[in-house]
Structure formats: structure tokens, C-alpha cells
């Protein structure tokens, strides 16, 4: 059996395991909420995790537009970027896909001598992880730029007023 077909076949279980691994890093109360609450408006974090991991998994199997991958990564990482996390923690979820695949499909892969083929996909995962670093750095930058642009808006208004005051003083 081709490893690609095999991984495609195992999609649901691997994804489920992957999500479990990610959620295990949340406090128990939060994790269950993220897992069970299906309303995307009440549970935006859970929603992006479910959606994003699915897209990334598919990208692993088929060639996908790098922009789509970035978009999916962005959705997930944007949330992680504002949580109490170290950068390494925010990126770790990508590597957990490896663990999920090995746990859910490892034995079968062993039995069918697909390990070499698997390593090809693991390289791909590493590439996604590198991409995730970029996205994380950009998101953090955005957090700061949001903050600075907020200050800038305030400052612009202040300068407008100040100029006006100067003008009126001259008059």
C-alpha cells in the first residue's frame, strides 16, 4: 500500500489524536471546553484548531498552495501568539503531528516497511514548522504594531490639536 493512501485513510484518527495532543497543553477546564463546544462563535479557539489542523494535514498529503498553508498556520498561531506562551510552545503543535502519526499509524507503518516513505513526510512537517516560525514572528510583530499604531493614532490627534493651538497663539 502506498503511504499516501495509508495516511489519507488514517486522516480522522490522526487528526483526532493530534488535536488531543494540542489540547492536552491547555488547562483541563479549558481543554474540555475547546473540545466539546462546537459553536464557532462561542469557541473560536477550538474552531480554528479543528479547521486549521485539517487543512495542514491535507497539505501534507497533497501539494497545496503555500499561501493556503500559511493561512491555516496563521489562523492557529494568531491565537497562540497572544496567549501566555513561549515561542517554542507556540510552535510545538506542528511537531506534535509527527507524534500523532507515529502513535496512530506507527505499528502499521512498521509492518509494511513504510518508514522510509514516512520520513519524507516528516521532512515536510519540518518545513511546515519552519514556516510556522515565520508566521509566529510576524504575529508577534503585529501585536506590537497594533499597540504602536494605537499610540500613533492618539499621538496624531494630539499633534493636530497642538498645531492648532500654536496657530491660534500666533493669531
Amino acid at each position: 500500500m502506498d503511504i499516501k493512501d495509508f495516511l489519507a485513510q488514517k486522516r480522522e484518527v490522526v487528526l483526532k489524536r493530534w488535536l488531543e495532543l494540542i489540547l492536552d497543553t491547555y488547562p483541563a477546564d479549558a481543554a474540555n471546553f475547546l473540545r466539546l463546544e462546537k459553536d464557532r462563535f462561542k469557541n473560536p479557539v477550538g474552531h480554528v484548531l479543528t479547521q486549521g489542523t485539517g487543512i495542514l494535514y491535507d497539505a501534507l498529503l497533497d501539494e497545496k498552495d503555500p499561501d493556503d498553508i500559511k493561512k491555516a498556520l496563521d489562523d492557529i498561531i494568531r491565537v497562540l501568539a497572544v496567549q501566555d506562551l513561549m515561542p517554542s510552545q507556540a510552535i510545538a503543535f506542528v511537531f506534535q503531528l509527527k507524534q500523532a502519526i507515529r502513535e496512530e499509524a506507527g505499528q502499521a507503518i512498521c509492518g509494511q516497511d513504510l518508514f522510509d516513505a514516512l520520513s519524507h513526510y516528516e521532512v515536510k512537517i519540518d518545513t511546515i514548522a519552519l514556516c510556522a516560525f515565520d508566521v509566529y514572528a510576524r504575529c508577534r510583530e503585529e501585536v506590537h504594531s497594533v499597540r504602536s499604531s494605537e499610540i500613533k493614532t492618539e499621538r496624531d490627534m494630539a499633534i493636530r490639536l497642538l498645531n492648532m493651538l500654536k496657530r491660534s497663539e500666533k493669531q
Binding site: 477546564d29 474540555n32 471546553f33 466539546l36 463546544e37 462546537k38 459553536d39 464557532r40 474552531h47
Partner: protein, 330 residues
């Protein structure tokens, strides 16, 4: 930890009444003294607790509004969720108390993927709470047949509806099953939902276990360990007419049941079970949304230090004068 403590507590209570009534035969204690004491604690405690609340005023008008306000005549206002009449408030409270309106509010839309399984987590809570409370009410009303002579017809009708299965003998009451299932659900939530488990305290488990034990002993008495109803009615009428008699030849199970009920009554005023009275006093629900129509008085209002216009003008007069803003004092 809290869970095991509450289980131990319940076992002690049951064990105590079993030993006291069954083995030691302290019938006067369990049949007369304890129920009277519990009843007194309940009445005094309940009134005291409500008085504690009532002694503090509602200084500000703070309803949580859940519907369109009354404003312009051509905008339809929500007369119940944003009441501006007494009837509106009464309707809101009735919906809240009888149908648990707010718990029901958890409606959801999942537009994104309609085919996906939707967990109605909180509608379940509403359903569980409704079944539990309504069953409890029906069961209490059914018990009136032991407390009232002659038992009113409506109670008998209720009884026959509740026991419409007519099976086995004596007929199984639907509410007995319902209350059991509801209790199981409410208890299960506390155990298995990490959010709820995280915030549950000893008293949360204890209240559920206590009511559960009362229901169990009641069911046991009805279907497995039969007791002489004549004696029980005579006993309860005696208690009520302040001419108590200890029933003779009644199974220990009755004393256990009675003792658990007494514990519940005595525990009631000191616990969260007081939500029964408290819900009616909740200022976010029982006030009209009319605070701009009618002035609400704060009884402990006191004068505060303000920055008066005069002080303000004193500070800025020169500048105001210069730019031609009107001032009070030259």
C-alpha cells in the same frame, strides 16, 4: 477530595439514623425531637436568611436588560425581557422561576457546518434542572396525602397521573424515575465535566447526595420494604397537630428517610439551597427597566466631595476669559 468527604458525610448520616432507630430504638429522638428541631431550624433559619438580605437595600437600579427598551412609540419594546410595567416584571419572574428562562437562553446557531454534531451542553442543563425541580415539586405535593386529612381531590388526581403506568403494584411513579435520572445527570456533570468539577465544592456534592438518598429511601419504602401507611399518616398528622406519637412497628427505613429529610430541612437555610428564596430577590431580574422614567432612591446616599463649577472657573478663569468663553465672575 470534596466528593469523598461528602459521600462519607452522607454515610454517617444514614448510619447514625439506622443505628439509632433500628438498633437502639431511639424513636422519640428520631421521630419527634429531630423533626421538630429541624422544622424549627428551617423556619427560623429561612426567615433569618431572608431578613439578612432584606436588611440591605437595593441602592441602585440595576436590572440586566435582555430585550428592547421602551422608548419611541413606533419601536416595539420587549415587555417581558425589558419590563417597564409590574406585569412585565411578574411575567419575567414567572418565566424565570417556573421555566428557568435564563438557563434556556443558550440557543445556538452553527451556520458553518450544519451537518456537524452539535452538543447542546447547556440545554441539557436546562432540561436536567427542569426535570429535577418539577419532579421534586410533584413528589412534595404527592406527600400531602400523608399530611392532610382528608386528602384533597387534586392531590389524588396528581397521584393517578403520576402513576399512570399502573405497574407494578404499587404503581411506579414517573417522577420517581425522573428525579433519579435528573439527579444522576446533575451529579455526573459535577464528576465528568472538568469545568464544573473544578468549581464544585463539598456542599455541591452533598446537596445532591442528600436529596438522592431521600429519594432512594422513599422508593425503597414504597416498592421493597413496605411500611404501614396508616401508622405513617397517623404519625405525620400527630406531628402537625403538635400531639406527636411515635408510630409502632414501623420499619427502620422510615426513620432513615425521616432523618434524612430532617437533615435537609436543617441544612437548607445554611446552604446554597436558599436560592429558592433568593431568586425572587435578585435585583437584576426583579426590577423594571424604567430607571429614566422613575427615580430610584438610595437610602444611604451621602454628600460627596465634588469639584464645583466655581472651583473650576477659579482655576481656568484667565484662560477662559482670553479665548472669550462666557464666565460667571469677572
Amino acid at each position: 477530595m470534596y466528593l469523598s468527604y461528602s459521600i462519607i458525610l452522607i454515610l454517617i448520616i444514614i448510619g447514625f439514623s439506622y443505628v439509632a432507630a433500628g438498633l437502639l430504638g431511639c424513636r422519640v429522638l428520631l421521630g419527634i425531637i429531630v423533626p421538630y428541631a429541624a422544622g424549627t431550624i428551617f423556619v427560623v433559619g429561612f426567615v433569618y436568611r431572608v431578613i439578612l438580605w432584606a436588611r440591605s437595600p437595593v441602592p441602585f437600579h440595576i436590572p440586566a436588560v435582555c430585550g428592547q427598551q421602551i422608548s419611541l412609540p413606533w419601536i416595539k419594546s420587549d415587555k417581558i425581557e425589558s419590563p417597564h410595567t409590574s406585569w412585565g416584571v411578574v411575567s419575567r419572574m414567572v418565566l424565570e422561576v417556573l421555566l428557568f428562562r435564563s438557563l434556556f437562553r443558550n440557543d445556538r446557531v452553527d451556520i458553518n457546518k450544519p451537518e456537524r454534531l452539535i452538543y447542546g451542553g447547556n440545554r441539557w442543563l436546562w432540561l436536567g434542572a427542569m426535570i429535577f425541580h418539577w419532579s421534586l415539586l410533584v413528589i412534595l405535593l404527592r406527600h400531602l396525602r400523608f399530611f392532610i386529612e382528608p386528602a384533597p381531590g387534586c392531590i389524588e388526581v396528581l397521584q393517578s397521573i403520576d402513576g399512570f403506568f399502573q405497574w407494578p403494584l404499587p404503581a411506579l411513579y414517573v417522577t420517581n424515575i425522573f428525579i433519579f435520572l435528573a439527579l444522576l445527570y446533575l451529579f455526573g456533570r459535577r464528576l465528568f465535566n472538568p469545568q464544573v468539577r473544578h468549581l464544585s465544592l463539598l456542599s455541591d456534592y452533598f446537596a445532591l447526595l442528600l436529596i438522592g438518598s431521600i429519594a432512594s429511601t422513599g422508593i425503597l419504602m414504597r416498592h421493597f420494604y413496605k411500611v404501614d401507611l396508616m401508622q405513617i399518616k397517623r404519625f405525620s398528622l400527630g406531628i402537625l397537630s403538635f400531639d406527636p406519637v411515635t408510630p409502632e412497628g414501623i420499619g427502620t427505613i422510615f426513620y432513615v428517610h425521616l432523618f434524612l429529610v430532617s437533615v435537609l430541612f436543617a441544612y437548607f437555610p445554611f446552604s446554597k439551597l436558599m436560592h429558592m428564596g433568593g431568586v425572587l430577590l435578585s435585583p437584576t431580574r426583579n426590577l423594571m427597566n424604567n430607571s429614566r422614567m422613575k427615580r430610584h432612591i438610595n437610602p444611604w446616599d451621602y454628600p460627596v466631595k465634588v469639584h464645583t463649577y466655581e472651583e473650576y472657573e477659579d482655576e481656568f478663569r484667565a484662560a477662559m476669559k482670553e479665548v472669550g468663553l462666557p464666565i460667571e465672575k469677572e
